[in-house]
Amino acid sequence: MGARSTVPFIAILLLGAALWVAETTLNAFYLQVLGLLGINIILTVSLNLAAGYGGMFSLGHPAFAAIGGYTAAILAYPVTLKASRIPGYPEWLLQMEVPFLPALLLGGLTASVVAVLVGWPVLRLRGHYLAVATLGLTVIVQVGIVNLVDYTRGALGLSGIPKHTNLWWIFGFALATIYVVYRLVHSRFGRALRAVRDDYIAAQMSGVNVARTRLIAFTVSAFFAGAAGGLLGHLLRILTPGQFSFNAVFIGVAMMILGGMGSITGSVVGAVIMTILPQFIIPFERGGTIFGAEFPALNGLTQIVIALILILVMLVRPEGLAGSREFSIRETAARFRGRRKEHGVDIVAVKGK
């Protein structure tokens, strides 16, 4: 009993120490890459809540990130720039400069509200029909951002966003996301959610309010995606519609599936692979000398390696690297001791529909 509660405590302490070391010793390049990693973790875990645990295979999460990101950025945007760059808003909004935390939360909330409005009709769809409909949401939001120039600065992008974010913010939010999603899926609600995912009709017959369960999970998931968008804007100091395009859809899905649908550990692993690994490959792209041998520039090497990893992981581990298991100290320790006891798997991987 005692061990169970001290382990997360120690873990948080370790994370805190690591963040402190990172913030004080690493240069801006590492901090930015790690920041992007944290944001990708939030995005992937939140997508996993909807898709992995809820069976709602959403391709609309970049839209939520965009809505949350733009909302937060517009709220926290310097008043001095607002009137010239995003003049479409009413005077009171142009005169308002909201502090970062409320801006971020409001961004997440706006994404949630949109999730409710969209989810209410669309979540009746299942499987790939839901995927295609939510992909439509991504396209519609992107088209909106591009064309509503007075409200978003259009295709040029909303630049000049103050840099409010650092690793503390990002990993604080990542931790909150992981905590909330973990508690949610391991609660009564989580059991209902998985029941809906695995067998719609059986869940309905055993008294689960299917529509409400799905909508709640979808909305919570959209909140964190929206917050991640807000963090992204305040990390890179710019938001453009291109950041929330098809490419973002693919990368999000790839991170989730690579790690494992229905596994928070997997989401973290997927985000690490897709964010950190390219940074090691990029220096080799421009060519140069290695061990005295000249080699030419290899444009697209990173993308090719990532593509091969995606394909290979799918071939070798179709359920993703972590499957639907979670990392657990006890189990890892048990494995090290060579006792191959049964996994404490709480979710059985089911053919997703």
């Binding site: 690591a18 990172a22 690493l26 992007l36 100091r237 710019i238 000398t289 990392f327």
Partner: protein, 383 residues
Amino acid sequence: MPNLCGRIALASALGLAVLTGPVGAADPIKLGAIYSVTGGYAVIEDPALKAAKLAVKEINAAGGIKGRPIEMIHYDGKSTLADIANAAQRLVHEDKVIAIIGVADSGFYLASAPIAQDAGIPYLDTGGTVPNLPEQVGEFGHMMPFGDDYQAFVAADYALNDLGAKTAFLLRDADSDYTRAIAAFFKERFTEKGGKLLDESSSHLGDTDYSAHITRIRSLNPQPDVIYAALNPGDDATFVRQAREGGITLPIIGGDAFDNPDLVKNAGAANTENVYFTTHMALTPDGGIVQKFIDAYKAEYGIPPENAFAGLGYDSVLLMAEAMNKASELSSKAINDAIFTITDFNGVTGKASFADPKRAPDKEVTLIAVRNGKFELIGNRKP
């Protein structure tokens, strides 16, 4: 729980992953470069990079700068915002470059320039054309090309005064900032000076079918006198060809995106009659530095420059080199100050002054007419 040890290990190992550049000449000057050679922007940024490499090679062959060679460190922007921002961080904090050149998109520039600005490193925009980019970034932001307003104004004046047009049709790619901007500036100038816009239409990134727009033009009665086509590079030939084959013989005016040999190659010589465009450099042989550049490019890569961004990439290096030569010492700050003192820069994209710290350089716009499949110089103008 995320694996903390793993993350720290990764973070520290990243530092070791940076390759060493070519060994040899002592103490090279590190010039950073961010160009997308993959993704949607590769079509314009890849030629810019190739020309920049050529310029570095030529400068080093001629003895370098103050006796030291230039080492250009390039990262692929992958046409993706986060990758471009990462590349800027890497150049500034890992490679510790003295100056940066790069990108051909204003949004990409705004995503990466604040990083250089914070570190006090001059960053020259190769092809992003929002007129006041430097002002949006700070004192370390500089622009190589003229602003969108210049070329669109020159185009509008040409339509009104030289072609005698009174009415126009406007086609623009609605998905990119550059095409929207030149379209807006053209509209502003054309209507301000008494012209009338009969109708406008929006295409989209990746579209190849212009038939609906073309029918829309043909359905106008009376017909417009001129069509202004604010399109991205690569789409120029596609549109011109379809317009001509769809029965439209009206004059078509385009922006610098039209400046590539593929315009005639992909649209066909007969279809490009009565096509005009504004651009950075006259790719027509004139016996001067432009011809020398084209010949050198051909010798290096086997093909003539793919589009006008090659010239801008080449000039980006030349301008930085001139600033380095003029600078009192080889430091970022001194080079940055030296850029403002360059008022008579003479590059393949024309003569320019970089004295204004807030706006695009004051530079002549080249007007080209396509005749018999050849680019003919109409003149160099300022609005």
